[in-house]
């Protein structure tokens, strides 16, 4: 037992723990700065700090445009994550369980958005909606986000589908279940936690996305688009940071909850 623990994972000369802590400090320092800014009475971040206040948080909750933007981001995130996960599920099941002519093509196509820079996707969708005479809107943003999220969903779900024993599906069908029923009552429950993690990944990809959203936002901005427009006003920065902090807390909490749910064994 002790020999096992010494191999590859035992003590080496590299103080990895210290490296990790240093990295955390590096990552959190700007965040800490932002957080201080959000509870500082001054609208400019100068030291020494003037005073502690929660007024920015209060102001944030009263700002309807800000809350609307946050709501829009949630809408777009939920929409694009749901569609991307569903489509990714379709790809992963069809690619692992079936032989058909477009099989490799579908797989390749699902991964292709990964190699297209966001700015190109953004402007090309902008042109598409223009050509189709459709207005820029949250739907346009969601369409774009679905495309960029799909490779992630597919990758995550594919890995799980690959590990699923087809014998289970065969057994179900032998017992008289139709294929759709088999999918619904055998495959989907087994995929459950993975579906959730795929969905969450897609949501996170969409929620903070700004490069594509800037080209496709119409009258309703998502939170990052709104933020970008508000950066013109330096004195609004503390309020914006306050709201972003709230959103971060929300995102992290949701992730933790979902993680807990996902870890429960059948």
């Amino acid at each position: 037992m002790s020999r096992r623990s010494a191999i590859g994972v035992g003590r080496t000369r590299v103080p990895l723990g210290t490296v990790y802590v240093l990295m955390l400090l590096f990552l959190y320092f700007p965040i800490a700065l932002l957080f201080i800014f959000s509870v500082n009475t001054n609208t400019v971040l100068t030291f020494p700090l003037r005073g502690f206040t929660l007024e920015w948080y209060r102001e944030g909750f009263g700002d309807s445009a800000l809350l609307e933007a946050a709501r829009n981001s949630v809408l777009v995130g939920v929409g694009s994550a749901s569609i991307a996960t569903a489509l990714g599920l379709g790809v992963s099941i069809s690619v692992t369980r079936f032989r058909f002519r477009g099989r490799v093509g579908l797989l390749a196509l699902s991964g292709l958005p990964l190699i297209v820079p966001f700015v190109v996707l953004g402007v090309s969708l902008f042109l598409l909606f223009n050509l189709a005479d459709l207005p820029r809107s949250l739907f346009a943003i969601a369409a774009g986000h679905t495309v960029i999220a799909l490779p992630f969903a597919t990758l995550i779900l594919l890995a799980r589908m690959g590990g699923l024993d087809p014998a289970l599906e065969d057994a179900a069908m032998d017992l008289g279940a139709t294929y759709p029923v088999t999918l619904r009552r055998v495959v989907l429950p087994l995929m459950g936690p993975t579906l959730l993690s795929a969905w969450l990944t897609c949501f996170i990809v969409s929620f903070d996305e700004v490069a594509i959203a800037l080209f496709l936002a119409g009258g309703d901005p998502t939170f990052p688009v709104f933020l970008y427009g508000q950066l013109r006003f330096a004195q609004r920065l503390p309020v914006l940071i306050a709201m972003a902090v709230m959103l971060t807390v929300l995102t992290v909490t949701l992730t933790l909850i979902a993680f807990r749910l996902g870890r429960r064994k059948p």
């Binding site: 590859g8 932002l34 489509l87 579908l106 820079p117 294929y179 999918l183 990052p224 970008y228």
Partner: protein
């Protein structure tokens, strides 16, 4: 009732259709528009004429391609740095943290959950003449006057983007390291390999796909970055993505912007193809 084969249609067709409409079609459109001669916004009602005028315009302005080269160079530096810096973190999570790995991973990802724009703004605050970094340096006596070059420069863009991407880059590396079976390492140890030797000859090669995935996941979006350069890049940090952005907003010459996009797309495809070739060669070599 829907047979097994029939269900395939419902599984495979929707993704195909969605990608065809919202991915393939737009890309084809942008290629098509790059061959239109108009400066200015495109009126789709106008007749379609084929012209190489946009590509000619780009050819006659070497500055554009120079910026592309610079953007690729910066993206390479950022992706390589983020991957290298993320590697020890991923290693820590995979081999040291074990039971607590999830907890440490979440700690790592929390900064990533903070809005990207605000993380960039935080760096603007820190790198500015009166920002945190200059204040600390002067207070420590390292410098006596603010370093003006920190902000509004390519350096600012590079630092900021490395910072933004490190947590994200750690994920595929961590996944790859996790998958390494202890058995391989045990066998190597049995054969007399010391810890460094085991690392270089077993761990690194087996985690390479993860590192390469991390590299590209950072590299591709970064080549086309325009948001961070517009906030902290100044006149020197003006990147290729900004040129495209300008041609679709400020300068509003969509066909020129499309041509620039096509060039970048081709370049990215070529780079990825080359990289895939290199990876295959490595696999064969080892």
């Amino acid at each position: 009732m829907l047979g097994r084969r029939g269900a395939l249609r419902f599984l495979a067709l929707p993704p195909y259709l969605w990608l065809a409409v919202f991915f393939v079609l737009p890309v084809l459109l942008i290629v098509a528009i790059s061959f239109r001669p108009e400066a200015g916004p495109i009126d789709f009602g106008d007749p379609w004429t084929f012209s190489l005028a946009q590509y000619q315009r780009i050819w006659e302005t070497p500055a554009y391609l120079r910026r592309l080269g610079m953007s690729v160079g910066m993206a390479l530096a950022i992706a390589a740095s983020a991957t290298l810096l993320a590697y020890p973190i991923a290693y820590f999570l995979a081999f040291r943290a074990r039971e607590r790995a999830v907890f440490f991973l979440i700690l790592l990802l929390i900064p990533f959950a903070v809005s990207y724009l605000l993380r960039v703004m935080a760096w603007r605050l820190m790198l500015g003449g009166e920002g945190a970094i200059n204040s600390i340096f002067q207070w420590l006596g390292i410098t006596s006057a603010p370093i003006d070059l920190l902000l509004y420069s390519p350096v600012a863009v590079v630092i900021t983007l490395i910072y933004v991407w490190i947590p994200f880059a750690a994920l595929p590396i961590y996944a790859a390291l996790q998958r390494i079976e202890r058995g391989h390492l045990e066998a190597a140890a049995d054969l007399g390999a010391g810890p460094w030797s085991r690392f270089w000859r077993v761990t690194v090669p087996l985690s390479l796909p993860g590192a390469i995935a991390a590299f590209f996941m950072v590299f591709i979006p970064t080549v086309g970055e325009y948001v961070t350069p517009s906030l902290v890049g100044g006149t020197e940090g003006y990147m290729y993505g900004n040129i495209i952005q300008d041609f679709f907003t400020r300068a509003a010459s969509w066909a020129t912007g499309s041509a620039l996009s096509v060039i970048m797309l081709l370049l990215t495809l070529v780079l990825v193809a080359v990289a895939l070739r290199l990876i295959d060669v490595r696999r064969l070599a080892s």
